[in-house]
Each structure stands twice: as structure tokens, then as C-alpha cells.
Amino acid sequence: MEWDWDFVWEILPTLAKGVIITIQATLLGSVLAMVLGLFTALARRSPSKWISAPMFVFNDFIRGTPLLVQLYFLFFILPDLGILLSPLAAGVIGLGIHYSAYISEVYGAGIDNVSKGQWEASKAVNLTVPQTWRHVILPQAIPPMIPALANYFVAMFKETPLLAAITVIELMNAARSVANESYRYLEPMTLVGVFFLLVSIPCVLMLRHLEKRFAPNDQR
């Protein structure tokens, strides 16, 4: 089997469309995961067991089942209940829900990492609870979360090929379809791999930088 540059140029426009969908799914999924994750992280801290307990169960359930199974439920089983989602919408929602369970843990750990003494000192200087969150807790909780969040976004990006299973024409699916038509797998799959590498490597480098920059320092 020989590398065929003409074939590469021929399939590039189709793959480029797939790239756009892959990026869209990652970005939208990340935003959804961050918002949902914040919601569940806060709900888990609720003093009411009726609110916090279901959130713990939800998170464990999501983290204990494969993303692929969740995608199948969203795309093939929800329509039976009258909820019809486009492939991309189902994919974004699937990614968003799945990663929100992990990101919720990141938020929780970040907030727990701020010592109890910070809450007490804030009370002693008579800050209100919202002022304490805004000026004392979150500014300390968020920076250490950033590397962990970025890590999950890279992981999500690399899992977008799973969306092919629910007919989203993202990069993997686009590559598979040109391969199926031409019986040539070498070029399309290589291009897929190269694209993921080109995006992941800078992300990983940036991550290392973030980890160094936000390394936890003296909390006192």
C-alpha cells in the first residue's frame, strides 16, 4: 500500500467538514459540562439531603456507565419517549452530561481545598456569604481547578469519535465514509490521527504550563 497524495487532496474538504463538527461538539460539550457540573457541585453541597443525595447518585451513575451506552440512550431510546434529538444535539448533550459528572468533582475538590479558616476569617471581618464566595473562596478555588478542567476538555475532544456511533458526521465518521467508498483506509485514518495530535499536543503543553503556574502554594 502506498501513500496517495492525490487521494489526500481529494478527501480533504470532506474531512475538513468533519473537523468543524468535532470542534463544535467539543466546545459545546465543554460549556454544557461546565454549567451542569457547577449546578450538580452546588446541589451536592446543599444542606438538604433530598437535593444532595440524588446528585451523588446521579454522578456515580454517570461515571459508572460508558459514554457510548449513554449516547445510545439519548439517540435511539429517547425518541421512543417522544424526545427526538438531532445527532449533534444528542452528542453534545451526551458529552456534556458525561463530563459534567467529572467536572462537578473538580469544582467540589477546588472549593473543599480552601481551608475552613478562610470561611471563619470572612465571618470574623463580617463579610456576607455572597461576598465571601466572591472575594475569598472562589479566587482561591478556581486557579487550582484550571489544569484539571483543561485535562477533561482534552479527554472529551479525544472521545468525540464515539459520536460516529450515533451518526454525527464528525471527523471520524467523515473519514470512515470516504474510506468505505474508496476502500482506502491509510490516508483518511492517518489524517484523523494527525489532526488529533496537532490539537492535543499544544493542549498538553499548555496544560503542563498551567499546572506549574497554578501549583498550590501556602494556604495560610
Binding site: K123, V125, N126
Partner: protein
Amino acid sequence: MGTPIIQIENVSKSFGSLSVLNGLSFDVASGEKLALIGPSGSGKTTILRLLMTLETINDGVIYIDGEPLWHMEKAGMLVPADETHLHKMRAKIGMVFQLFNLFPHKTVLENVTLAPTLTGKLSKPDANNLALELLDMVGLADKAEQKPAQLSGGQKQRVAIARALALKPKIMLFDEVTSALDPELVEEVLNVMHRLAAETDMTMLLVTHEMSFARDFADRVLFFDGGRIVEQGKPEEIFSNPQQERTQSFLKKIVAGGRQI
């Protein structure tokens, strides 16, 4: 003397099944400097934490300036206070902690100015001026732009004192403020507190294991054991001529442990 600034009446507090305070009562006169001493777990820190509203009260009433701290009067009845009432009452009280609890992401100056500006008491320039004045008083005006992590323990604690003073509380609570310090740094913090006691008419409550300091500093010493006041009186009475056996054995142990009186 007028009304006591703090009246503690029949206060009880337990953590789960562990009863820490059980029907405790005592008054503090305005401007009084009070030292609370006693073995660990005797409930002295819990009193400060109840006064700062860091722990909730189980039973009894605490009055600050004649007004209930943990309760509000509604139709002649005392009902549990809401957050608005607690917020209002906290303005009268400041606290310095054993572990400093400075805000690590803020500069020394911002640590002091944060609360006065957020509570709307002072404009930013006024708060800055006040903060510099207070930092000067604790001898740290030159550290204003540094972060707490760059300071020694003694310096951190002096910043924490300045931060508490910025809100001009009537009552200051000091919770074992030198216990986490290296021995050679204790002095600088105690000096600041001495100055404060001499120069202001603030009411000060001090939980401490520094007996010699308690002796110089306090108008009155309360010896606690098992959530009760076992003995109280002027420092010279308590330290030189304790009447109760438990006070005697506590003070003896502290001397044997190498701490001086």
C-alpha cells in the same frame, strides 16, 4: 461600670454527644481585659467561637451591649436570630485566630482593607489610609504590598490583628494567637497586644497558654475546666495564690512543662 458589654447567661454547647459548656454564666465589663486559661478541651475557645458566631449556641443567651447576640426579640419573646441580625452584631466583634487565616491571594494591605470597603464603612482611599496607619502600628507598613506567604508567622499574626482592628470592633477576641508561632516570634505579637491594651479602651478576651503574658495583660483571669469556671480573680491572686486544687495542679503542670509564670 454600667451594663456589662458581654453577658453570658446559662450558655450550653455540645458537639454531638460531647458537652463542652453546660450552663455557663459570666459578665465582662466594658474595657475589661480578660484572660481565659485552662486545659485543652475546657471550653475556653468555644466561648470565643460562640461570641464570633462561628459555632451555634445550643442553650442560654449571650448579650452584647445589652442586646441578645444569638436571638432577636419578637413580640416580647426571644427567637433565634436571622442572618441580618447576626451580621449587625458581628460588627461589634473582631477575632484573631491561632492559624492567622489571612487571605493568601490578597496583599497585606488588601487583607486589611477588604472588609472596611466591602461593608461600605469606608471609601477605598480612606480604607487605605486606615490600613497603613494600622500596619504602621503593628510595625509592618513596609510589608503592605507583599503577600502573606512572604511573611513570618509573627508578621502574619500582626497583620491579622491589623485586619481585625480595621473594623473598629468594641470587643476583640484572641484565640491562642501565639500557639502556632516559633518561640522567638511570640514576643513581637505580644508587644502589639500590650500596646493595644494600653492605648485603647477595647474589651479584650484572650485564650492563652502564655501564663506570664496573661498575668501582665489581664485585669481578670478565668480558670476553666470541664466547661465551668473553676476559679476567677485578679491575675496575682490566681497565679500566686490559687484557692482551688484543680487550678493549683494545672499551674504546676504548666510550670513543670517548661512554661514560665
